[in-house]
Symmetry: C2
Amino acid sequence: MHEDGCRRVVITGVEPEIEAGRFPIKRTEGERVCVEADVFADGHDAISCRALYRREEDALWSAAPMHFLANDRWRGEFTVDKLGRYRYTVEGWVDHFKSWRRDMEMRMAADTDADVDYLTGAMLVRAAAERSQDSDAALLTRWADGLAAEKDPALRRTIALDQALSQVMDRNPDRTRATRYGRELAVTVDPAIARFGAWYEFFPRSCSPEPGRHGTFADAEERLEYVARMGFDIVYLPPIHPIGCTHRKGRNNSVKAAPDDTGSPWAIGSAEGGHKSVHPALGTLDDFRRFAGRAREHGLQVALDLAFQCAPDHPYVTEHPEWFRRRPDGSVQYAENPPKKYQDIFPFDFETPDWRRLWDELLSVVLFWVEQGVRVFRVDNPHTKPLPMWEWLIGEAKRRYPDLIFLAEAFTRPKILYGLAKLGFTQSYNYFPWRNSKWELMEYFNELTKTEVREYCRPNLWPNTPDILTEYLQHGGRPAFLSRLILAATLGASYGIYGPPFELCENTPLKPGSEEYLNSEKYEIRHWELDQPGSLRDFITRVNRIRRENPALHGDWSLRFHDVDNDHLIAYTKHAATDGSRFGNLILTIVNLDPHRTHGGWLDLPLLELGIDTRRPYQVHELISDARYFWQGARNYVEVDPNTVPAQIFRIRRHIRSEREFEYFM
Amino acid sequence: MHEDGCRRVVITGVEPEIEAGRFPIKRTEGERVCVEADVFADGHDAISCRALYRREEDALWSAAPMHFLANDRWRGEFTVDKLGRYRYTVEGWVDHFKSWRRDMEMRMAADTDADVDYLTGAMLVRAAAERSQDSDAALLTRWADGLAAEKDPALRRTIALDQALSQVMDRNPDRTRATRYGRELAVTVDPAIARFGAWYEFFPRSCSPEPGRHGTFADAEERLEYVARMGFDIVYLPPIHPIGCTHRKGRNNSVKAAPDDTGSPWAIGSAEGGHKSVHPALGTLDDFRRFAGRAREHGLQVALDLAFQCAPDHPYVTEHPEWFRRRPDGSVQYAENPPKKYQDIFPFDFETPDWRRLWDELLSVVLFWVEQGVRVFRVDNPHTKPLPMWEWLIGEAKRRYPDLIFLAEAFTRPKILYGLAKLGFTQSYNYFPWRNSKWELMEYFNELTKTEVREYCRPNLWPNTPDILTEYLQHGGRPAFLSRLILAATLGASYGIYGPPFELCENTPLKPGSEEYLNSEKYEIRHWELDQPGSLRDFITRVNRIRRENPALHGDWSLRFHDVDNDHLIAYTKHAATDGSRFGNLILTIVNLDPHRTHGGWLDLPLLELGIDTRRPYQVHELISDARYFWQGARNYVEVDPNTVPAQIFRIRRHIRSEREFEYFM
């Protein structure tokens, strides 16, 4: 039998809730959590409810009132203003005073309010007085006396319906029979840069000013100003560890390396050390720390690559032979995706009986770099390591350092991509590189921003990576680079590029049909001429400035697509509250997805829903060209020529001043 | 840290699953449970999985294999063939042999299969031999030897890909690192009549052959043949207990009863007894038992009404004063929905400190009638009693008697209606009486039969009840009664009518705008002339026979609406497998929703999906008129005249014999 059968309220359908509370939702510092629930009881009694929340380490709950929406659904909100983990749940109770007051209104309307009804109310108010403290007790006692004894019927009615009485009763409710929702749900609160940031990936070894010389951290320091001036927030470096020699890959991924080939940074480990060492050709650990410090001076965070795999000459292979799988001939199992063989890479055998020590060691790698000042990690192929390992490792790391950020390079099937996001990855690479048509982009970004997915998966949009030179970029020329940049930077509050190939519009694939770069930096040192006249550097600078200046672009949830009667043009708005106005900052982006031809079309904006006065013209300020236009009404013609700029980013200013607002009119 | 970090498989998105397993799904004896889940692991390894199920009282699991669908989704099925509760869950594991075999196929295709690869396979097979028993061990050892030592490369390849080897490996998997889904989900298995049955409600006290005399159980016995001949399965009686005298309601719900007024059967309890007593005017408990026995002889089950409320003179009121709420003036709180007062009814105070004894007493009421042979209960206004009480009471009752059926008269808001269904009610009244237009019917029945709702809520469709004479019936004349009957009987595998008013097309409301019957049987004894020429008795008989003879109509899940280009015509099919053919029994119903005018329209049937050969004509057999037509192709014209019969029920016979099938052609 139930512990307390008198708890009549039922709470269900709580949102957000990921897999019945198995995983936390995600927020950044200062964001709000909006909680909804179905809350109801039997019969006609009124109910009240509230959202409860606390930091995980605190014992006491705070409460946020929930208000009734419709169809037994209630909503409440609270703010998470500290890093780490929060808990939240919902509580509801039968509110006899609220029922009584509602009934009294109906009785009065029907003129059937009787003495006994007022006495019932007095009883409820007196009970509240006994529960309450200080001044409330005195107030309530006076109201109770009035309800019980007031002789003037009109005055007695006034007392019964007194809003002040309701308010004081609301803060002294009888919750002895409240129902608490069966689960305490969790929120992970990350730093703001987990939500909004621009990433720039580059290879330090290609930073030498002298062609052919191996770049160093000192050279990379010189590159920082270039990156910072473009307006990026994070510089991400491919692995900086010693590179294996055995089965080293040569240029363009050739199986046989030439003696001077530098190998792939992802083939980690040699006699010079493993995941906690720095490649001697780049410098020392001190050099790395100095690089990271210089980055901070430029307002940049350094992101490192976590690639949990070993070159055959990684020290682990001899120190921990049990962490690798042996084949029946005694050799170590290399990575394989038959018929392809990757003999330069030994994957860990996560089914090893020694898995606990392996997990501990991997965590220690993360903590080692955290101790060097690194807070951001880009995780290589997380989907090829067990999901329970990641959940544990990220949990342990963030328990110690709640400001850590883990970006999952989970280019894999959707359930696994989302599974990794749920278990703790802060951000996720995703299918953006391959979403090119309007319909694809709309469908995918509605999934990312309008469904439960947004509660746990933060997309980070990359038009290119060292592994991905899309066909769109290969064939679309410079306009393709511009439009993919704008899509990434405006659809995604977090986005990144792999440079300098991106800003230099490098678009030659290894071979037709391949997404690999020809002469990929993965396998060789490149020397980049950054001052080419065609560089997108200034354009990127402008776009990043637009991002910083417009809060609408600092989050993804407000994304909304709009109708344009041309399938080559995609249009969407994002908005953010400023100075208390919900749509204070409103940004409309229009991109021509066809890199070859000018397209025009009629754009339809839902003005009322965007908070725009339909009767007056409004100003749209195109932020790339700095041009201003007056638009009128919901339907306006737009045209985009890819050969100038394949996109327009409008700040919509809803209010246009007129002469009536000049001072002399006031 | 995890207990076993080597469990790499992740299981999520299990369906069906109600509120994270908080509530069971429902099935009837012999039905199948189809379980789906997202099951995946890191990396490239193949996985296998299975559904596990057991009766709740059994310790051992049975297993049903799950097969891969797409997008990491797997499906398996099992049958629940015994009454009571079952449990089910999902288990998945990394299947190294399956991975190996897949990889070997690719290696062979690329001609890169090497000796060491066969040795790896031999190792896996030998390990399986050690796990396995009897003949499998010997077989596997022989295969392992072949893989390890076979010198003929072609033969060695044949061994590796031997389907028989795969099969034997499949039944000897290595599940030491299997992942079990985190929850054991429940199934409540009810008798078949919980899914398929026709109900008939009537008042025994109106069964006297002499007008004016109070009918008895003996009179009601005489009515049973009439009901059975119409083809009903369940006779449901309003409360049969002593009726209160204090504040008794008179005819047409008048506040003052005349001395000869018999009162409402729902005002339960008087000096003559309460919920475990029989109204003396109806007879004795023995008489009731004889009535129930006669009903069984007619193939009818008796359903009783559970109305947990008391007349002011119910013995509980004096024996258990603590079960009722006192007002400040010392009087007992009567039922009230301000400004309406129901002074003839005292609700229980479920917030009483004595709630445990109250709950026990209510359960004892159910068990008392179960001991008299009653297995079916129609529960009056369950939404006005606490949901936790019902969950406990139904759970306790069905634990003792798993064949019990509780029909919830939950005419309340949708979340509460569904909440009651989830917590254990076997069937639910619903919004069918007020769904009249084609769009409303389609939307509502798609919600009931195509969403998760169907897993826990079994609709029982009533065109009328003693409380509900809909406007549609009031104004639509005889065609309205016919069409609502056919909708109820074909949309709902479970349906019921309140007779004789239904078959006699009684349609006069208490007053305009009211859904109450004039001279309602709730407040007076009525005498019904059953042999009126206009009676729908024969029509109902025909419809119930069509229901019995066509398995398509024995369930609701196969319901599918079809396009007709006239909004007054609604068309839908249901189907059932017979003799192993999925669409063996296929019933198409077309109803004219306009009771006043003939309507025609073009009907579109998705022939391929219904298993109909698009190239040949097919026969449709109209089962009400017994007419047969030949149709050809997907598009056919239908016309329904409400003044003959406002509906057509076709059995579609997909196969039309031709002369080529006569014996002399064979």
